[in-house]
Symmetry: C2
Subunit: 104 residues, 2 copies
DNA sequence: TATATTTGATACCAATTGGTTTCATAAGCG
DNA sequence: CGCTTATGAAACCAATTGGTATCAAATATA
């Protein structure tokens, strides 16, 4: 039950939910309408997303609007940072030159 | 069995393997030495990573060196792009000003 | 107040996952 | 050639996953 953000975005439906509510907060029913799956299934996805603090519920009467915690998404960005360094230097001007020289 | 990159990075061991071979290509045995798990378990992770083209095997005698396909990592970066737009504009100068004004 | 709506929680199920054990294959070495 | 080493593959297993069906609670509405 140890949930992390990488496990959360592994499921395509959850990724779609994230994208959906990134634009505007939505209720579980409204979200479920966008998918083939049931409301209950969506509700379970929402719980998982909430567990790792990717989304936040905002009660409004009997409806609950789920908002994306955009800041949490940065954790993925931070993990990517180490690789971004590699792919940026890998094709730097100097490297390109060396590759060119090697081929000659 | 249709694997995608998000499913691949969901497992912490696989993320560690990716980080490990990002620095330099390694053999399954060498990789397994870095973890508590067995060589066979690592082998299964490598197969999954290879299936979604995140790593590439390079046979060298009876050893196989696995190399990270750094370009593939960009797919995660591309998916993040949509959110990066949000978190960059969310705290832009104008927004900060509006928030400040609102609080007063 | 009685009924409908919105939602979460639980029990259950089939499929998938990550792991181990065991075996097969291929390459190096005495 | 036999033996060791490096590796993948297959069979099996317990735990987890994503789904459905059903129920309970809370809020709106007639």
């Amino acid at each position: 039950m140890r949930r992390d953000i990488f496990q959360a975005i592994a499921d395509p439906t959850r990724r779609a939910i994230i994208t959906l509510i990134a634009i505007q907060a939505m209720t579980p029913n409204a979200i479920a309408e966008h998918f083939d799956t049931s409301r209950q299934a969506v509700s379970k996805h929402l719980r998982i997303l909430q567990e790792c603090e990717l989304i936040r519920p905002e009660q409004q009467g009997r409806e609950i609007y789920y908002t994306l915690e955009i800041e949490k998404m940065k954790e993925i960005d931070q993990w990517l940072e180490q690789f971004r360094k590699i792919w940026e230097t890998k094709f730097s001007q100097l490297d390109k030159l060396l590759v060119t020289l090697k081929k000659q």
